[in-house]
Protein backbone atom coordinates (compact mmCIF):
# COMPACT_ATOMS: atom_id res chain seq x y z
CA UNK A 1 0.00 0.00 0.00
CA UNK A 2 1.42 3.42 -0.92
CA UNK A 3 1.52 6.25 1.59
CA UNK A 4 -1.00 8.07 -0.53
CA UNK A 5 -3.44 5.15 -0.38
CA UNK A 6 -3.01 4.89 3.36
CA UNK A 7 -3.59 8.63 3.79
CA UNK A 8 -6.82 8.31 1.83
CA UNK A 9 -8.01 5.50 4.06
CA UNK A 10 -7.07 7.45 7.20
CA UNK A 11 -8.90 10.53 5.93
CA UNK A 12 -12.07 8.47 5.56
CA UNK A 13 -11.62 6.96 9.02
CA UNK A 14 -10.99 10.17 10.97
CA UNK A 15 -13.51 12.33 9.09
CA UNK A 16 -16.51 11.73 11.37
CA UNK A 17 -14.47 12.52 14.50
CA UNK A 18 -12.82 15.73 13.27
CA UNK A 19 -13.94 18.96 14.95
CA UNK A 20 -11.62 21.24 12.96
CA UNK A 21 -12.68 21.08 9.31
CA UNK A 22 -9.88 23.43 8.19
CA UNK A 23 -7.27 21.28 9.84
CA UNK A 24 -8.85 18.29 8.14
CA UNK A 25 -8.79 19.99 4.73
CA UNK A 26 -5.03 20.42 5.00
CA UNK A 27 -4.34 17.16 6.83
CA UNK A 28 -0.77 15.93 6.29
CA UNK A 29 1.41 13.30 7.89
CA UNK A 30 2.49 15.97 10.39
CA UNK A 31 -1.07 16.65 11.61
CA UNK A 32 -1.65 16.11 15.32
CA UNK A 33 -4.88 14.18 15.87
CA UNK A 34 -5.91 16.12 18.97
CA UNK A 35 -4.48 19.60 18.32
CA UNK A 36 -4.74 20.02 14.55
CA UNK A 37 -7.80 17.90 13.82
CA UNK A 38 -9.38 18.51 17.25
CA UNK A 39 -10.55 14.96 17.67
CA UNK A 40 -12.04 14.52 21.15
CA UNK A 41 -9.53 12.48 23.18
CA UNK A 42 -12.31 10.06 24.19
CA UNK A 43 -12.88 9.34 20.49
CA UNK A 44 -9.25 8.23 19.92
CA UNK A 45 -10.24 4.73 21.00
CA UNK A 46 -12.99 4.75 18.36
CA UNK A 47 -10.54 5.91 15.67
CA UNK A 48 -8.27 3.04 16.65
CA UNK A 49 -11.11 0.51 16.49
CA UNK A 50 -12.00 1.79 13.03
CA UNK A 51 -8.35 1.50 11.93
CA UNK A 52 -8.22 -2.06 13.26
CA UNK A 53 -11.31 -2.99 11.27
CA UNK A 54 -10.14 -1.29 8.09
CA UNK A 55 -6.64 -2.81 8.08
CA UNK A 56 -7.51 -6.02 9.86
CA UNK A 57 -4.85 -5.55 12.54
CA UNK A 58 -4.78 -5.32 16.35
CA UNK A 59 -3.24 -2.24 17.91
CA UNK A 60 -1.92 -2.92 21.43
CA UNK A 61 -2.14 -0.43 24.28
CA UNK A 62 1.47 0.69 23.99
CA UNK A 63 1.19 1.44 20.29
CA UNK A 64 -2.08 3.20 20.97
CA UNK A 65 -0.42 5.62 23.37
CA UNK A 66 2.09 6.61 20.68
CA UNK A 67 -0.57 7.26 18.11
CA UNK A 68 -0.86 11.04 18.34
CA UNK A 69 -0.12 12.17 14.80
CA UNK A 70 -1.09 10.94 11.36
CA UNK A 71 2.52 9.87 10.82
CA UNK A 72 2.71 7.81 14.02
CA UNK A 73 -0.59 6.17 13.03
CA UNK A 74 0.85 5.27 9.62
CA UNK A 75 4.05 3.92 11.18
CA UNK A 76 2.11 1.74 13.58
CA UNK A 77 -0.18 0.44 10.84
CA UNK A 78 2.84 -0.38 8.65
CA UNK A 79 4.58 -2.16 11.53
CA UNK A 80 1.48 -4.20 12.34
CA UNK A 81 0.90 -5.06 8.68
CA UNK A 82 4.52 -6.20 8.27
CA UNK A 83 4.24 -8.44 11.35
CA UNK A 84 1.41 -10.38 9.72
Amino acid sequence: MTNEEMMDKLRTIVKPYVKNEEGFARMTEESDLLKDLRINSANLVDVILDIENEFNIIIDNESMEKMLTVRSAMDIINTKLSEQ
Binding site: P16, Y17, A42, N43, V45, D46, L49
Partner: protein, 425 residues
Protein backbone atom coordinates in the same frame (compact mmCIF):
# COMPACT_ATOMS: atom_id res chain seq x y z
CA UNK B 1 -38.89 36.11 47.39
CA UNK B 2 -40.14 33.09 45.48
CA UNK B 3 -40.25 33.35 41.70
CA UNK B 4 -43.35 32.63 39.66
CA UNK B 5 -42.70 29.75 37.25
CA UNK B 6 -44.24 29.46 33.78
CA UNK B 7 -43.95 27.03 30.89
CA UNK B 8 -42.64 28.62 27.70
CA UNK B 9 -41.71 25.62 25.58
CA UNK B 10 -42.94 22.08 24.92
CA UNK B 11 -41.53 19.09 23.07
CA UNK B 12 -42.89 15.60 22.65
CA UNK B 13 -42.03 12.27 21.06
CA UNK B 14 -45.03 10.04 21.65
CA UNK B 15 -46.20 6.71 20.24
CA UNK B 16 -49.17 8.54 18.68
CA UNK B 17 -47.36 11.60 17.43
CA UNK B 18 -43.84 12.95 17.07
CA UNK B 19 -43.56 16.71 17.39
CA UNK B 20 -46.06 19.18 18.81
CA UNK B 21 -48.37 19.55 15.82
CA UNK B 22 -48.69 15.82 15.09
CA UNK B 23 -49.20 15.11 18.80
CA UNK B 24 -51.80 17.87 19.21
CA UNK B 25 -53.77 16.51 16.27
CA UNK B 26 -53.45 12.94 17.61
CA UNK B 27 -54.72 13.71 21.10
CA UNK B 28 -57.60 15.83 19.80
CA UNK B 29 -58.79 12.99 17.60
CA UNK B 30 -58.07 10.21 20.10
CA UNK B 31 -55.58 8.53 17.81
CA UNK B 32 -53.92 5.40 19.13
CA UNK B 33 -50.17 4.78 18.99
CA UNK B 34 -50.44 1.15 20.06
CA UNK B 35 -49.19 -1.49 17.62
CA UNK B 36 -48.51 -5.22 17.51
CA UNK B 37 -44.83 -6.25 17.61
CA UNK B 38 -44.03 -9.68 16.09
CA UNK B 39 -40.66 -9.57 17.89
CA UNK B 40 -42.45 -9.77 21.24
CA UNK B 41 -44.52 -12.72 20.05
CA UNK B 42 -41.37 -14.52 18.89
CA UNK B 43 -39.91 -14.05 22.38
CA UNK B 44 -42.99 -15.63 24.01
CA UNK B 45 -44.33 -12.42 25.53
CA UNK B 46 -47.89 -12.56 26.84
CA UNK B 47 -48.41 -8.95 25.80
CA UNK B 48 -47.22 -8.42 22.23
CA UNK B 49 -48.48 -4.86 21.84
CA UNK B 50 -46.92 -1.57 22.83
CA UNK B 51 -46.39 2.07 22.02
CA UNK B 52 -43.29 3.15 20.17
CA UNK B 53 -42.76 6.54 18.49
CA UNK B 54 -42.01 6.35 14.77
CA UNK B 55 -38.71 8.10 14.05
CA UNK B 56 -36.85 7.51 10.79
CA UNK B 57 -33.16 8.04 10.04
CA UNK B 58 -33.71 11.44 8.42
CA UNK B 59 -35.49 12.75 11.50
CA UNK B 60 -32.80 11.33 13.80
CA UNK B 61 -30.09 13.15 11.89
CA UNK B 62 -31.91 16.44 12.35
CA UNK B 63 -31.12 16.20 16.07
CA UNK B 64 -27.88 14.23 16.44
CA UNK B 65 -24.68 14.56 14.40
CA UNK B 66 -23.27 11.66 12.34
CA UNK B 67 -20.61 11.23 15.04
CA UNK B 68 -23.23 11.09 17.80
CA UNK B 69 -25.19 8.55 15.77
CA UNK B 70 -22.14 6.33 15.25
CA UNK B 71 -22.60 3.20 17.41
CA UNK B 72 -25.74 4.82 18.85
CA UNK B 73 -28.29 2.38 20.20
CA UNK B 74 -30.38 4.27 22.68
CA UNK B 75 -33.96 5.15 21.77
CA UNK B 76 -34.65 6.74 25.16
CA UNK B 77 -31.77 9.20 24.82
CA UNK B 78 -32.78 9.92 21.23
CA UNK B 79 -36.39 10.71 22.20
CA UNK B 80 -35.21 12.79 25.16
CA UNK B 81 -32.88 14.82 22.96
CA UNK B 82 -35.57 15.33 20.33
CA UNK B 83 -38.22 16.44 22.83
CA UNK B 84 -35.68 18.56 24.74
CA UNK B 85 -34.36 20.39 21.68
CA UNK B 86 -37.91 20.91 20.42
CA UNK B 87 -38.99 22.42 23.76
CA UNK B 88 -35.93 24.68 23.78
CA UNK B 89 -36.64 25.96 20.27
CA UNK B 90 -40.39 26.14 20.90
CA UNK B 91 -39.55 28.55 23.74
CA UNK B 92 -37.78 30.75 21.21
CA UNK B 93 -34.32 30.02 22.64
CA UNK B 94 -31.23 29.82 20.44
CA UNK B 95 -28.53 27.17 20.42
CA UNK B 96 -25.11 28.76 20.64
CA UNK B 97 -22.62 26.13 19.46
CA UNK B 98 -19.45 27.96 20.39
CA UNK B 99 -20.08 30.60 23.05
CA UNK B 100 -20.11 30.44 26.84
CA UNK B 101 -22.30 27.89 28.61
CA UNK B 102 -25.72 29.28 29.53
CA UNK B 103 -25.12 29.56 33.27
CA UNK B 104 -28.79 30.31 33.98
CA UNK B 105 -30.22 27.24 32.22
CA UNK B 106 -30.06 23.64 33.35
CA UNK B 107 -31.89 20.38 32.95
CA UNK B 108 -33.47 17.73 35.12
CA UNK B 109 -34.33 15.03 32.63
CA UNK B 110 -35.27 11.63 33.95
CA UNK B 111 -35.09 8.05 32.75
CA UNK B 112 -36.20 4.73 34.14
CA UNK B 113 -33.13 2.99 32.80
CA UNK B 114 -30.64 4.04 30.23
CA UNK B 115 -30.13 2.24 26.92
CA UNK B 116 -30.90 -1.34 27.78
CA UNK B 117 -30.24 -2.26 24.13
CA UNK B 118 -26.78 -0.69 24.24
CA UNK B 119 -26.11 -2.44 27.54
CA UNK B 120 -27.13 -5.77 26.07
CA UNK B 121 -24.88 -5.24 23.04
CA UNK B 122 -22.00 -4.35 25.38
CA UNK B 123 -22.53 -7.38 27.60
CA UNK B 124 -22.28 -9.73 24.61
CA UNK B 125 -18.97 -8.12 23.65
CA UNK B 126 -17.67 -8.19 27.23
CA UNK B 127 -18.55 -11.82 27.73
CA UNK B 128 -16.68 -12.64 24.53
CA UNK B 129 -13.58 -11.02 26.02
CA UNK B 130 -13.79 -7.98 23.75
CA UNK B 131 -13.92 -5.18 26.31
CA UNK B 132 -11.81 -2.82 24.20
CA UNK B 133 -14.25 -3.07 21.31
CA UNK B 134 -16.83 -1.12 23.37
CA UNK B 135 -15.02 2.03 22.30
CA UNK B 136 -16.11 5.33 23.82
CA UNK B 137 -19.83 4.94 23.13
CA UNK B 138 -21.01 2.30 25.60
CA UNK B 139 -20.47 4.21 28.83
CA UNK B 140 -22.03 7.53 27.86
CA UNK B 141 -25.21 5.86 26.64
CA UNK B 142 -25.64 3.46 29.53
CA UNK B 143 -24.90 5.82 32.42
CA UNK B 144 -28.09 6.69 34.27
CA UNK B 145 -27.61 10.39 33.50
CA UNK B 146 -27.10 9.72 29.78
CA UNK B 147 -30.04 11.76 28.53
CA UNK B 148 -29.29 14.86 30.61
CA UNK B 149 -25.60 14.64 29.70
CA UNK B 150 -26.46 14.60 25.99
CA UNK B 151 -28.90 17.50 26.36
CA UNK B 152 -26.43 19.51 28.43
CA UNK B 153 -23.94 19.35 25.58
CA UNK B 154 -26.39 19.86 22.75
CA UNK B 155 -27.77 23.02 24.36
CA UNK B 156 -24.67 24.28 26.18
CA UNK B 157 -26.34 24.23 29.60
CA UNK B 158 -24.30 25.67 32.47
CA UNK B 159 -26.68 25.30 35.41
CA UNK B 160 -27.62 21.99 37.10
CA UNK B 161 -27.57 19.04 34.68
CA UNK B 162 -28.93 15.80 36.15
CA UNK B 163 -31.28 12.88 35.66
CA UNK B 164 -33.84 11.78 38.20
CA UNK B 165 -35.37 8.34 38.42
CA UNK B 166 -38.52 7.34 40.28
CA UNK B 167 -40.11 4.72 38.02
CA UNK B 168 -43.40 5.93 36.54
CA UNK B 169 -43.24 9.14 38.60
CA UNK B 170 -40.02 10.23 36.89
CA UNK B 171 -41.38 12.72 34.36
CA UNK B 172 -43.71 14.44 36.78
CA UNK B 173 -41.05 14.50 39.50
CA UNK B 174 -38.55 16.13 37.10
CA UNK B 175 -41.02 18.95 36.40
CA UNK B 176 -41.48 19.64 40.11
CA UNK B 177 -37.75 19.52 40.82
CA UNK B 178 -37.04 21.99 38.03
CA UNK B 179 -39.92 24.17 39.20
CA UNK B 180 -38.43 24.37 42.69
CA UNK B 181 -35.02 25.29 41.34
CA UNK B 182 -36.46 28.27 39.49
CA UNK B 183 -38.84 29.19 42.31
CA UNK B 184 -35.90 29.52 44.71
CA UNK B 185 -33.89 31.61 42.24
CA UNK B 186 -31.21 29.02 41.52
CA UNK B 187 -31.87 28.97 37.78
CA UNK B 188 -33.81 31.09 35.29
CA UNK B 189 -34.70 28.25 32.94
CA UNK B 190 -34.90 24.49 33.46
CA UNK B 191 -35.52 21.97 30.73
CA UNK B 192 -37.43 19.19 32.46
CA UNK B 193 -39.01 15.94 31.42
CA UNK B 194 -38.53 12.23 31.10
CA UNK B 195 -37.75 9.61 28.52
CA UNK B 196 -38.23 5.91 28.22
CA UNK B 197 -36.62 3.12 26.20
CA UNK B 198 -38.74 0.34 24.77
CA UNK B 199 -38.63 -3.18 23.47
CA UNK B 200 -38.40 -6.61 25.02
CA UNK B 201 -35.48 -5.86 27.34
CA UNK B 202 -37.34 -2.99 28.97
CA UNK B 203 -40.83 -4.47 28.89
CA UNK B 204 -39.93 -8.06 29.79
CA UNK B 205 -39.99 -7.46 33.53
CA UNK B 206 -43.52 -6.07 33.32
CA UNK B 207 -44.64 -8.98 31.17
CA UNK B 208 -43.26 -11.41 33.75
CA UNK B 209 -45.12 -9.60 36.53
CA UNK B 210 -48.37 -9.99 34.54
CA UNK B 211 -49.23 -6.33 34.93
CA UNK B 212 -49.61 -5.79 31.18
CA UNK B 213 -52.53 -6.98 29.13
CA UNK B 214 -52.41 -10.21 27.15
CA UNK B 215 -55.98 -9.87 25.87
CA UNK B 216 -55.51 -7.45 23.00
CA UNK B 217 -52.79 -8.88 20.79
CA UNK B 218 -55.30 -8.95 17.94
CA UNK B 219 -56.80 -5.55 18.76
CA UNK B 220 -53.85 -3.35 19.76
CA UNK B 221 -55.70 -0.05 19.51
CA UNK B 222 -58.30 -1.26 22.00
CA UNK B 223 -55.71 -2.68 24.41
CA UNK B 224 -55.05 0.29 26.67
CA UNK B 225 -58.32 0.84 28.56
CA UNK B 226 -57.92 3.19 31.54
CA UNK B 227 -61.05 3.33 33.74
CA UNK B 228 -62.80 0.67 31.66
CA UNK B 229 -64.77 -2.24 33.11
CA UNK B 230 -62.79 -4.43 30.71
CA UNK B 231 -59.34 -3.04 31.56
CA UNK B 232 -56.95 -5.94 31.84
CA UNK B 233 -53.54 -4.45 32.55
CA UNK B 234 -51.53 -1.64 31.03
CA UNK B 235 -49.90 -1.49 27.62
CA UNK B 236 -46.21 -0.55 27.73
CA UNK B 237 -45.10 2.52 25.83
CA UNK B 238 -42.06 4.71 25.32
CA UNK B 239 -41.04 8.16 24.16
CA UNK B 240 -40.23 11.47 25.80
CA UNK B 241 -41.85 14.69 26.89
CA UNK B 242 -40.11 17.96 27.68
CA UNK B 243 -41.12 21.29 29.19
CA UNK B 244 -39.08 24.44 29.25
CA UNK B 245 -39.77 26.03 32.63
CA UNK B 246 -38.85 29.63 33.13
CA UNK B 247 -39.16 32.33 35.75
CA UNK B 248 -41.98 34.70 34.83
CA UNK B 249 -39.41 37.53 34.96
CA UNK B 250 -37.22 35.90 32.36
CA UNK B 251 -40.16 34.93 30.16
CA UNK B 252 -41.60 38.45 30.27
CA UNK B 253 -38.20 39.98 29.54
CA UNK B 254 -37.87 37.83 26.44
CA UNK B 255 -41.49 38.33 25.43
CA UNK B 256 -41.90 34.55 25.37
CA UNK B 257 -45.23 32.82 24.72
CA UNK B 258 -46.58 31.25 27.89
CA UNK B 259 -48.45 27.92 27.90
CA UNK B 260 -49.38 28.03 31.54
CA UNK B 261 -48.13 28.45 35.06
CA UNK B 262 -47.08 25.94 37.69
CA UNK B 263 -48.83 26.95 40.88
CA UNK B 264 -47.25 24.25 43.01
CA UNK B 265 -47.10 20.58 43.65
CA UNK B 266 -46.02 17.81 45.96
CA UNK B 267 -43.82 14.73 46.04
CA UNK B 268 -44.11 12.00 48.65
CA UNK B 269 -44.02 8.25 49.22
CA UNK B 270 -46.09 5.70 51.07
CA UNK B 271 -43.17 3.89 52.66
CA UNK B 272 -44.57 0.59 51.36
CA UNK B 273 -46.63 0.42 54.53
CA UNK B 274 -50.38 -0.11 54.97
CA UNK B 275 -51.91 -0.95 51.57
CA UNK B 276 -48.72 0.32 49.93
CA UNK B 277 -46.03 -2.00 48.61
CA UNK B 278 -43.20 -1.98 46.11
CA UNK B 279 -45.78 -2.10 43.32
CA UNK B 280 -48.99 -0.74 44.87
CA UNK B 281 -49.63 2.77 46.18
CA UNK B 282 -50.43 3.49 49.79
CA UNK B 283 -53.78 5.28 49.44
CA UNK B 284 -53.19 7.55 52.39
CA UNK B 285 -49.90 8.70 50.84
CA UNK B 286 -51.61 9.38 47.51
CA UNK B 287 -54.27 11.47 49.22
CA UNK B 288 -51.70 13.37 51.25
CA UNK B 289 -49.72 14.07 48.09
CA UNK B 290 -52.78 15.49 46.32
CA UNK B 291 -53.80 17.56 49.34
CA UNK B 292 -50.28 18.91 49.78
CA UNK B 293 -50.15 19.88 46.11
CA UNK B 294 -53.43 21.78 46.40
CA UNK B 295 -52.19 23.52 49.54
CA UNK B 296 -48.80 24.30 47.99
CA UNK B 297 -50.56 25.81 44.98
CA UNK B 298 -52.59 28.05 47.26
CA UNK B 299 -55.90 27.05 45.71
CA UNK B 300 -59.07 25.41 46.96
CA UNK B 301 -59.88 21.87 45.83
CA UNK B 302 -63.07 23.19 44.18
CA UNK B 303 -60.99 25.23 41.76
CA UNK B 304 -59.65 22.15 39.98
CA UNK B 305 -61.40 21.84 36.61
CA UNK B 306 -59.65 18.77 35.28
CA UNK B 307 -57.61 15.83 36.52
CA UNK B 308 -55.01 14.43 34.14
CA UNK B 309 -54.75 11.09 35.90
CA UNK B 310 -52.10 8.43 36.22
CA UNK B 311 -54.83 5.87 35.36
CA UNK B 312 -52.89 3.06 33.68
CA UNK B 313 -55.69 0.54 32.96
CA UNK B 314 -55.07 -1.84 35.84
CA UNK B 315 -57.36 -2.70 38.73
CA UNK B 316 -55.80 0.26 40.58
CA UNK B 317 -57.71 2.82 38.49
CA UNK B 318 -60.71 2.63 40.83
CA UNK B 319 -58.42 3.20 43.83
CA UNK B 320 -56.97 6.24 42.13
CA UNK B 321 -60.41 7.77 41.52
CA UNK B 322 -61.40 7.02 45.10
CA UNK B 323 -58.22 8.71 46.31
CA UNK B 324 -58.95 11.82 44.26
CA UNK B 325 -62.51 11.86 45.68
CA UNK B 326 -61.22 11.61 49.22
CA UNK B 327 -58.35 14.05 48.82
CA UNK B 328 -60.40 16.74 47.08
CA UNK B 329 -63.57 15.94 48.99
CA UNK B 330 -65.46 15.99 45.69
CA UNK B 331 -67.57 13.24 44.17
CA UNK B 332 -70.50 12.52 41.85
CA UNK B 333 -71.41 15.54 39.77
CA UNK B 334 -69.14 17.75 41.89
CA UNK B 335 -66.08 15.83 40.69
CA UNK B 336 -63.83 17.60 38.15
CA UNK B 337 -63.41 16.27 34.63
CA UNK B 338 -60.95 13.38 34.59
CA UNK B 339 -59.13 11.74 31.71
CA UNK B 340 -56.15 9.52 30.93
CA UNK B 341 -53.85 9.89 27.95
CA UNK B 342 -52.69 6.29 28.31
CA UNK B 343 -55.62 4.94 26.28
CA UNK B 344 -53.86 6.38 23.22
CA UNK B 345 -50.16 6.09 24.13
CA UNK B 346 -50.00 3.18 26.51
CA UNK B 347 -48.02 3.69 29.68
CA UNK B 348 -44.81 5.43 28.67
CA UNK B 349 -43.21 4.61 32.05
CA UNK B 350 -40.53 7.17 32.99
CA UNK B 351 -41.72 9.42 30.15
CA UNK B 352 -45.42 9.13 31.05
CA UNK B 353 -45.71 12.11 33.41
CA UNK B 354 -43.82 14.35 31.00
CA UNK B 355 -45.77 13.38 27.87
CA UNK B 356 -49.05 13.67 29.79
CA UNK B 357 -48.06 17.09 31.14
CA UNK B 358 -47.35 18.24 27.59
CA UNK B 359 -50.87 17.05 26.68
CA UNK B 360 -52.30 18.92 29.69
CA UNK B 361 -50.60 22.17 28.72
CA UNK B 362 -51.65 21.90 25.08
CA UNK B 363 -55.23 21.55 26.28
CA UNK B 364 -54.84 24.52 28.60
CA UNK B 365 -53.32 26.68 25.85
CA UNK B 366 -55.77 25.66 23.13
CA UNK B 367 -58.93 25.33 25.25
CA UNK B 368 -59.64 21.63 24.75
CA UNK B 369 -59.97 18.41 26.73
CA UNK B 370 -58.68 15.37 24.86
CA UNK B 371 -60.96 12.33 24.88
CA UNK B 372 -60.25 9.53 27.34
CA UNK B 373 -60.43 6.68 24.83
CA UNK B 374 -61.37 3.03 25.38
CA UNK B 375 -63.54 3.54 28.45
CA UNK B 376 -66.99 3.70 26.86
CA UNK B 377 -67.69 0.88 29.33
CA UNK B 378 -66.73 2.89 32.41
CA UNK B 379 -65.90 0.63 35.34
CA UNK B 380 -69.01 0.36 37.57
CA UNK B 381 -66.95 1.03 40.70
CA UNK B 382 -65.76 4.29 39.13
CA UNK B 383 -69.30 5.12 37.98
CA UNK B 384 -70.44 4.70 41.59
CA UNK B 385 -67.93 7.36 42.70
CA UNK B 386 -68.21 10.01 40.02
CA UNK B 387 -70.74 11.21 37.49
CA UNK B 388 -70.13 9.45 34.18
CA UNK B 389 -70.25 12.77 32.34
CA UNK B 390 -67.01 13.76 34.07
CA UNK B 391 -65.06 11.37 31.83
CA UNK B 392 -64.88 12.90 28.35
CA UNK B 393 -65.38 10.17 25.75
CA UNK B 394 -65.11 12.75 22.98
CA UNK B 395 -63.07 15.87 22.39
CA UNK B 396 -64.39 18.87 24.33
CA UNK B 397 -63.53 22.17 22.66
CA UNK B 398 -63.69 25.84 23.61
CA UNK B 399 -63.42 25.02 27.27
CA UNK B 400 -61.41 27.69 29.05
CA UNK B 401 -60.47 25.46 31.92
CA UNK B 402 -58.37 27.22 34.54
CA UNK B 403 -56.72 24.62 36.74
CA UNK B 404 -55.45 21.12 35.93
CA UNK B 405 -54.14 18.65 38.49
CA UNK B 406 -51.64 16.14 37.08
CA UNK B 407 -50.50 13.16 39.11
CA UNK B 408 -48.18 10.21 38.58
CA UNK B 409 -47.54 7.23 40.82
CA UNK B 410 -44.63 4.82 40.57
CA UNK B 411 -43.17 1.54 41.76
CA UNK B 412 -41.44 2.08 45.06
CA UNK B 413 -44.74 3.57 46.33
CA UNK B 414 -43.80 7.07 45.14
CA UNK B 415 -46.18 9.89 44.21
CA UNK B 416 -46.09 13.23 42.42
CA UNK B 417 -48.81 15.80 41.85
CA UNK B 418 -48.57 19.14 39.99
CA UNK B 419 -51.08 21.96 39.74
CA UNK B 420 -51.03 23.79 36.38
CA UNK B 421 -53.00 26.99 35.86
CA UNK B 422 -53.98 29.01 32.81
CA UNK B 423 -51.71 32.03 32.67
CA UNK B 424 -53.71 35.19 33.23
CA UNK B 425 -51.11 37.45 31.62
Amino acid sequence: MNKQVVITGLGVVSPNGVGLSAFTEAIRTGMSGIRFFPELKDLNFSCCIGGMPEVDETLKSAYLSPLQLKQFNSPGILYGCMAGIDAWKDAGLMIDETGEPDWDSGTIFGAGNSSVDKLRESIYKLDAGQVRSLGSTALIQTMASGVSAYLGGLLGLGNQVTSNSSACCTGTEAILMGYERIKYGKAKRMLVGGCSDHGPYVWGGFDAMRVITYKHNDTPELGSRPMSATASGFVPGSGAGALLLESLESATERGARIYGEILGGALNAGGQRGDGSMTAPNSEAVQRCIRSAVKDAGIRAEEIDLINGHLTATSKDTNEIRNWCEALNRKGSDFPYVHSLKGMTGHCLAAAGAIESVAALLGLKHDFLFPSVNCEDLHPDIASLIDEGKVPHHLIENNKLQVIAKASFGFGDVNACIIFKRFAG
